[in-house]
């Protein structure tokens, strides 16, 4: 990989990547369909989680992508997900089954943000999120940011101070960049997604954190490119596009585009034998394909608002120096 210049985005490449990914997601749409035992025996990691990700990211693409055909394809996927959730009836059932769990509320927030509500779910939410129990942290600080974002979307009182929670995340602490293992990397990308409402509110990222990300993203990306971990490459590219001043690393985008298969699917890693679901093209591809479509959308939006700031490798170190002025 060459230096970290921020070239003008290649909109043709981004659109090809996004339309390919959406075409794959459309072709595999039935694999997101929930089974009859979704609330009992089914593994939520193979049912609710993929469908929730589909809803979150398809909705964002539907809202933001500049091309009508892409928005339309995403809208169909989002509508499919809402139908799968029984137009909110399933959210209500999940809340009744597990009133202490945060995931039904997070899942409901995706739709509530789009104005889709269900009366029973809304009634349950008031009770569930009003409990003292609700304020007991159900996970790490990154997950708490996700819950806070869901509360904001739904319109219930925030159970904690988002600033104080953010301050304790990997991004909020600006953790040592050399200690970023896989778990910390996924935490960091989600700190960004929850903070910026998945790239919709880039202005929420204060300058010191933007400078931190701009400084270290090149070496994190380089590491994931070497390992060919395409879902994390996609997430980090999405983070680059969530910066108040988006960064478009053209060479990384070309590598990701080259990893995309002819049918539009993007494998989590180049050698599927490394992964747990090597025999199942849906399970090996759905997450990275969704992430790729999401990142390509944000990068595409960023190009519409950012002037070309092509620079050479030496010049491109300048954004990093911003961090020296940071507190």
């Amino acid at each position: 990989m060459s230096g970290p210049p921020s070239a003008a985005a290649d909109t043709a490449l981004l659109d090809s990547v996004a339309t390919g990914a959406l075409s794959w997601l459309g072709a595999y749409r039935d694999r997101f369909r929930l089974p009859a035992d979704v609330t009992t025996d089914a593994d939520p990691n193979l049912t609710l989680k993929p469908l929730g990700e589909l809803a979150e990211l398809a909705r964002l693409i539907q809202e933001l992508h500049p091309r009508a055909d892409v928005r339309e394809a995403a809208a169909e996927l989002f509508a499919f997900a809402w139908e799968q959730f029984g137009r909110g009836a399933l959210h209500a059932e999940l809340m009744r089954n597990e009133p202490q769990a945060v995931y039904p509320v997070e899942l409901y927030g995706v739709f509530a943000r789009a104005g889709l509500r269900h009366p029973a779910a809304d009634a349950l939410l008031t009770t569930v999120t009003g409990l003292r129990r609700w304020r007991v942290a159900g996970g790490d600080h990154t997950r708490t940011l996700s819950v806070l974002n869901a509360e904001r979307r739904i319109g219930v009182p925030l159970h904690a101070d988002p600033g104080a929670v953010f301050a304790l995340t990997g991004l909020g602490l600006r953790a040592e960049p050399w200690l970023l293992d896989l778990r910390a990397a996924y935490g960091l990308t989600h700190d960004v997604f929850h903070l910026t409402d998945w790239g919709r509110a880039r202005h929420r990222m204060a300058a010191p954190f933007a400078a931190y990300l701009r400084l270290w993203l090149p070496c994190w990306l380089e590491g994931e490119l070497e390992r060919e971990l395409w879902d994390l490459v996609g997430e980090l590219l999405a983070v680059a596009a969530c910066l108040p001043r988006p960064w478009y690393p053209a060479d990384v985008w070309r590598r990701l585009a080259a990893a995309q298969r002819p049918d539009g699917g993007v494998p989590e890693r180049s050698d599927p034998a490394d992964g747990p679901y090597r025999d199942d093209p849906f399970l090996t591809c759905y997450h990275s394909t969704l992430v790729t479509a999401f990142a390509a959308t944000l990068a595409r939006v960023g190009t519409d608002t950012t002037p070309d700031d092509s620079t050479g490798p030496a010049r491109a170190t300048a954004p990093g120096r911003e961090s020296e002025a940071a507190p």
């Binding site: 960049p177 050399w178 400084l215 090149p218 490798p313 990093g320």
Partner: protein
């Protein structure tokens, strides 16, 4: 042999053991001594640059270095790293060994276009191979040029630690200890300590870490 010599240098930089003499760590009579000096480069003389070193270098030290310089001059097709490391040894000889400038070869011209032109991963790799030049007063022009790429060297440090390439990481950390303007979010001191815990068993890694601490006060 190189590991033993590196350990000897590191020990001296810590101010431990007997007063340093290159000619005791690498005896001139040993056939491999010139090669070891060539590999260590300027670091063979690093203890003479340390504040706490009292005995001056002697004639026997000079003999060991002269043999190395004579045996391994960079050829016409030598890499930039090879020329720079040779140059570092010559510069250190001028600075720290007895005898006037006429007793030592002139430092050869070494190409420096790569400092500006290299993409950051290659820049970081080359700089780490030249970490022995991160000694007080040595190669100021190279240090100045690297100062314009501090962020990129820091990125190389991050990449090297994540790859558990402790030698490259320690070499880059040593340069960053010398250079101004290192990004605070890197956490250089903690990073150097971390490398020591993970890779400090390698004598060459340990040498870079102790040099960063001895000359620039960075690290644990």
């Amino acid at each position: 042999m190189i590991a033993d010599a590196a350990s000897g240098v590191a020990l001296a930089l810590r101010g431990e053991g007997d007063p340093y003499a290159l000619s005791r760590v690498l005896r001139q009579s040993d056939a491999l001594a010139p090669a070891a000096v060539r590999v260590l480069g300027a670091d063979a003389l690093a203890p003479y640059a340390a504040d706490h070193h009292t005995p001056a270098a002697g004639d026997e030290d000079r003999g060991v270095v002269q043999a190395a310089l004579a045996a391994f001059p960079p050829g016409a097709d030598a890499s930039a790293v090879s020329v720079w490391s040779y140059r570092g040894l010559v510069e250190a000889s001028h600075a720290f060994l007895p005898g006037g400038p006429d007793r030592w070869p002139q430092p050869p011209d070494a190409a420096s276009g790569w400092v500006e032109a290299d993409p950051w991963p290659r820049l970081a790799h080359r700089a780490s191979q030249l970490a022995a030049l991160a000694l007080p007063g040595l190669s100021p022009a190279l240090a100045d040029a690297l100062t314009t790429r501090t962020d990129d060297l820091a990125r190389g440090f991050v990449r090297a630690v994540r790859r558990r390439d402790w030698l490259q990481a320690a070499g880059l950390g040593r340069w960053l200890a010398r250079l101004p303007g290192v990004p605070p979010t890197l956490g250089l001191d903690a990073g150097l300590a971390f490398i020591g815990h993970m890779g400090g068993g390698d004598a060459r890694v340990a040498l870079h870490l102790v040099a960063a601490r001895c000359f620039y006060g960075r690290g644990e």
